[in-house]
């Protein structure tokens, strides 16, 4: 049969003889097994037992949790003592979830369910048996076999390759398995070919295993299975390499063997399949090579999964003092273990305990000399040197361009590198980082989608709310309009105006009511404070007076509001009787409200416009026409509303013109006066502060000077305040006067607006003076604390002044409110 060759490869010392001198034996049964839930590629299995359960050997204890996953079975009979995190044999040295079973020493098996007539069983039965047994690729990767065997559902396979090359130094597990169970292997191959139905079936085996070759030859005599002996070269046992040797076909970069019509299974896997189908035995043990010069009994053992490695090492006569390290797997692709308290898992093909003579500490890394030896050794025809530069510089994209992911991590390049560069570690690092980046990109993408969906949802909800509100408003307007329409047109005023006017009145009444409620609360508070103060004998009479004033003010306010409310009600009834004045008083206020509404409508319409614009930009040709229509409608609406808005706002503007000029002037003066007052106040404060400072120093001259300064500052401040007060006294009158002249031409509401403004101002002044009063009082309290008679006196004066100002302001306010009502 013609053989091909693959590029590169190396010939490391084989070191296989040590472990084939003795026959395959069964390792002693462990007292306890630790079974990780993930011993395979894919999702971890889902535990089916709980702590305290008794289990039998071969019982299913954890079930495959996904399409790519594998069952786990109890490898001894006994009790489940724990399901928790235990250290697992993994390059990270970390822990993972494991099921721990304490042996009862019986090794009591469950009833097995063999498939008696397996030669004639259909593929579904066979596949189920394989999946049930939890078989995974035993060569090292641990890919669930049942998934791989289903490959025929998507690909046509013409060649089944059984990988018996076992090219890695030291490892002889497959070799011994073939010598011991050649018939089982052939049965397994037959089951596989029944599943895959290939046109040919090849067993590829390296020529350094003559005894196994002999055994296979005799076992395959009456079958159509070819045993193909291939020359020894590392890594001929690599899946892609072996396929190339046997078939001359190259697996494409990033592809699978199935893409070129080949499926490859390992010897150990085939034997496990045979056991699962013919004996019904799940995967609960495997053949492991125990080797390395730090052991005295180097041999292969059939060991139950989950057996602690230290028990196996004891069995093999391990001498820890001699060992340089402990390796799981072979010297090329294995990894060092951090401890021996770890379980044997489905992929443990070898435990290697070399002495430091065999495996001295690695040489320190030297810089690359660009010798190119790695390129000649690489079986994947990559450029290891380039990859290493890219990994070092963290230029992962370039590394991917150079087919980093075709690297099988065989280690041939590091083996030949004269600079002892740990090349494979660089590739593993690069792969890790790329995977991380991909994961992050995926996560970011998902986050983005979720964010956008949330945003869209919020917008939709908001839009729905607005729509509902608009609908409600429209319904209410229609209703009131209808009601008014029903009401007689005898009044002469247009019913719509009247209806709106009435609605407006109602709104005003509502506002007043709210104000009333607030005033009531204030009154209550004031009352309470007053009673408290009365009870508190310590309260200063000053305090009481203030409280009383407060109380009174609140009462007055309430009364004012009540009056207003009554007035409003009267006006309303009047409006009913005599629509003329109502129409006269209301249109402007009505305009205000309508204006607001129009503005809101405009905003909503322009949002809609924008949206349609955007949609239009994104739209495909089909719905463009429709969108364009919507867009136009939205545009029309906006301009419509704007027009209305223009009309509406033009009206009040003309109304205001008559009074605007004088009031603007007055306001300006007022402002100036206020600023002057504030400035002089500040000057006074400063002077006072300076005085205190001087007093504390005790400089009499200085004190006298400062006192003089304060006096002038005070005088200034008072002057400014007087001016301010005078001006303020004028302001409320001004609109009143203006209103007279305006009243014939324009409705009285203009006056009302002015009054409202004045009212607001007055209120602000009241609030300001109140805070000033409070501050002054606080200062007084402080002064009292410091027991400085001078300061107390000064502060008392300040408080007094503030009080008068406050009451003055309040009076103005009261005046305004009362005038407002009439």
């Amino acid at each position: 049969m013609r053989l091909w060759d693959f590029h590169g490869g190396i010939h490391p010392e084989e070191n296989k003889q040590q472990s084939v001198q003795q026959a395959l034996v069964k390792a002693p049964l462990p007292k306890q097994v630790v079974l990780p839930l993930q011993q395979h590629i894919g999702a971890p299995a889902e535990p089916l037992v709980s702590v305290g359960d008794t289990v039998k050997t071969g019982q299913l204890i954890a079930q495959a949790d996904d399409f790519i996953s594998a069952n786990i079975h109890a490898s001894i009979s006994g009790t489940v003592t724990a399901i928790d995190e235990r250290p697992i044999p993994h390059a990270s040295g970390m822990s993972d979830l494991c099921i721990v079973i304490e042996s009862d020493g019986q090794d009591d098996w469950v009833k097995l369910e063999p498939i008696a007539d397996w030669q004639n069983a259909d593929s579904e039965t066979l596949l189920n048996a394989i999946a049930r047994a939890g078989i995974v690729g035993m060569g090292g990767a641990g890919f669930p076999t049942a998934v791989k065997a289903r490959i025929r559902e998507q690909h046509t396979i013409d060649t089944l390759v059984i990988n018996a090359a076992e090219c890695e130094p030291y490892i002889t597990a497959d070799d011994m398995a073939m010598r011991t169970y050649p018939e089982r292997l052939i049965q397994g191959v037959q089951i596989l070919s029944q599943l895959v139905k290939p046109s040919r079936c090849l067993i590829g085996i390296e020529d350094n295993k003559p005894e196994a070759i002999k055994a296979l030859h005799s076992a395959t005599k009456d079958t159509d299975i070819d045993v193909v002996v291939v020359p020894t070269k590392y890594p001929s046992g690599g899946e892609k390499q072996l396929i190339q040797i046997l078939t001359g076909r190259e697996v494409p970069s990033g592809g699978l063997p199935a893409d070129i019509g080949v499926i490859c299974q390992n010897v150990g896997t085939a034997i496990a399949i045979a056991k699962a189908v013919i004996l019904g035995e799940p995967l609960i043990s495997r053949i492991t090579t125990l080797t390395g010069n730090a052991m005295t009994r180097r041999q292969n053992v059939d060991v139950r999964l989950g057996t602690p490695i230290n028990e196996l090492l004891d069995f093999a006569g391990f001498n820890a003092a001699l060992a340089s390290r402990l390796i799981m797997g072979g010297p090329m692709m294995g990894f060092t273990l951090t401890s021996d308290r770890l379980p044997v898992v489905k992929t443990t093909n070898c435990l290697l305990a070399p002495t430091s003579q065999e495996f001295p500490d690695p040489e320190p890394e030297s810089p690359c000399i660009r010798c190119g030896m790695c390129e000649q050794a690489c079986p994947a025809e990559l450029l290891p040197q380039q990859l290493h530069w890219f990994a070092k510089a963290e230029e992962f994209e370039k590394a991917q361009l150079f087919n980093l992911f075709d690297c099988i991590e065989c280690g041939a390049c590091s083996y030949v590198c004269p600079s002892s560069i740990p090349l494979v570690q660089y590739y593993r690092f690069a792969k890790t980082e790329i995977h991380k980046e991909q994961e992050e990109a995926k996560k970011a993408e998902r986050a983005k989608i979720r964010f956008e969906q949330r945003q869209a949802r919020l917008e939709r909800e908001e839009a729905e709310k607005i729509a509902a509100r608009n609908a409600r408003m429209a319904a209410a307007a229609a209703k009131s309009a209808a009601a008014k329409a029903a009401a007689p047109a005898t009044s002469g005023a247009s019913p719509v105006t009247q209806g709106l006017a009435q609605g407006l009145d109602e709104a005003a009444a509502k506002k007043l009511k709210i104000q009333r409620a607030a005033a009531t609360v204030a009154l209550k508070k004031a009352e309470k404070a007053l009673t408290e103060a009365a009870l508190d004998s310590n309260a200063s009479p000053d305090n009481k007076a203030i409280l009383e004033a407060n109380h009174k003010a609140a009462q007055e306010k309430l009364a004012a509001i009540d009056q207003q409310l009554n007035g409003g009600a009267q006006a309303k009834t009047q409006a009913g009787a005599n629509p003329q004045p109502a129409v006269a008083t209301n249109p402007n206020g009505l305009d205000d409200a309508a204006l607001k509404k129009l503005k809101i409508q405009r905003a909503a319409a322009s949002v809609a416009l924008k949206k349609t614009e955007k949609a239009l930009a994104e739209a495909t040709d089909e719905n463009r026409v429709q969108l364009e229509a919507t867009f136009k409608a939205a545009q029309d609406k906006v301009s419509d509303i704007e027009q209305q808005l223009g009309i509406a706002s033009a009206q009040p503007a003309s109304n205001e013109q008559s009074v605007a000029a004088p009031s603007a002037d007055q306001e300006k003066i007022l402002k100036q006066a206020k600023i002057a007052a504030a400035a002089s106040k500040a000057a006074m404060k400063k002077a006072e502060k300076a005085l205190v400072h001087a007093q504390s120093i005790g400089d009499t001259d200085e004190i006298a000077a400062k006192e003089a300064a304060i006096v002038t500052a005070k005088a200034n401040a008072e002057k400014a305040a007087d001016k301010l007060a005078a001006l303020q006294g004028v302001t409320p009158k001004a609109p009143a006067a203006a209103s007279h002249s305006a009243s014939d031409a324009t409705p009285e509401t203009d006056l009302a607006a002015k009054q409202e403004k004045a009212l607001k101002q007055a209120k602000i002044i009241v609030a300001a003076t109140r805070t000033a009063l409070k501050k002054a009082k606080k200062a007084l309290a402080e002064a009292q604390d410091s027991k400085d008679p001078e300061a107390i006196k000064a502060q008392q004066a300040v408080v007094e002044r503030c009080k008068t100002k406050f009451t003055g302001a309040e009076q103005t306010l009261a005046q305004l409110t009362s005038s407002d009502v009439c």
Binding site: P354, P360, Q425
Partner: protein, 208 residues
């Protein structure tokens, strides 16, 4: 016409070139209409570089707004979750100079995930409202929890919680997300290196 051109080779060349120019111009014009790129490609490119944590630490309400701001000339160093690498990628994309990150160095690039101490949660739903990616599940007056795989670690749910039962925990390294470290480089021994050193001893390293 052809004869005329044949007699005037210079004119022929000029005509030929002009024809070609007109032809390609038409082709390009057609292509620019036919294959018009939708949306703003640069914003999308920037957006694809941002980590999509949606945390708002850049001063924008999410990553896409920040992408828009960068496209309009905003600084590229405002995204702490993205860290140096994002800033560098942005610098490269925008052709700007890299700049130091505008963030507390301790917080840059640390992946975190929110964790609700469930027995302390009072079910106020405030965190659900705050979460930009809907990574919290729960209902009024019922215990809430974070969907770990969807949490971007943006921190926005921590502040609104009235009982302070949300912790931001660093993402743990497990067997699943563990990866190999970078070898230290020249002059360092790589501890995990297994073979490469068995060569000098292969002859005398045989079984005793």
């Amino acid at each position: 016409m052809i004869e005329f051109l044949a007699q005037h080779p210079v004119l022929a060349a000029v005509t030929g070139l002009l024809t070609l120019a007109a032809l390609f111009g038409a082709l390009l014009g057609y292509a620019s209409i036919r294959f018009k790129v939708e949306g703003n490609p640069i914003v999308d490119q920037i957006d694809s570089l941002l980590p999509q944590t949606q945390c708002g630490q850049c001063g924008h309400p999410g990553c896409h707004p920040y992408a828009e701001a960068i496209a309009n000339g905003d600084d590229i160093n405002k995204c702490p979750p993205g860290g140096e690498s994002t800033m560098e990628a942005l610098a490269e994309l925008m052709g700007r100079d890299p700049m130091p990150l505008d963030a507390d160095p301790d917080t840059i690039g640390v992946k975190k995930v929110a964790y609700i101490r469930e027995d302390e949660c009072i079910g106020c739903t405030k965190c659900i409202i705050a979460c930009p990616v809907d990574a919290i599940v729960g209902a009024t007056k019922l215990m809430h929890t974070v969907i770990e795989s969807d949490c971007t670690g943006c921190d926005l749910c921590v502040e609104p919680c009235p009982v302070d039962c949300i912790d931001m925990l660093p993402v743990e390294t497990t067997v699943k997300n563990w990866g190999w470290n970078r070898p230290q480089g020249p002059n360092a021994r790589f501890e995990h290196q297994v073979f490469a050193s068995d060569r000098p001893f292969t002859t005398d390293g045989r079984a005793v």
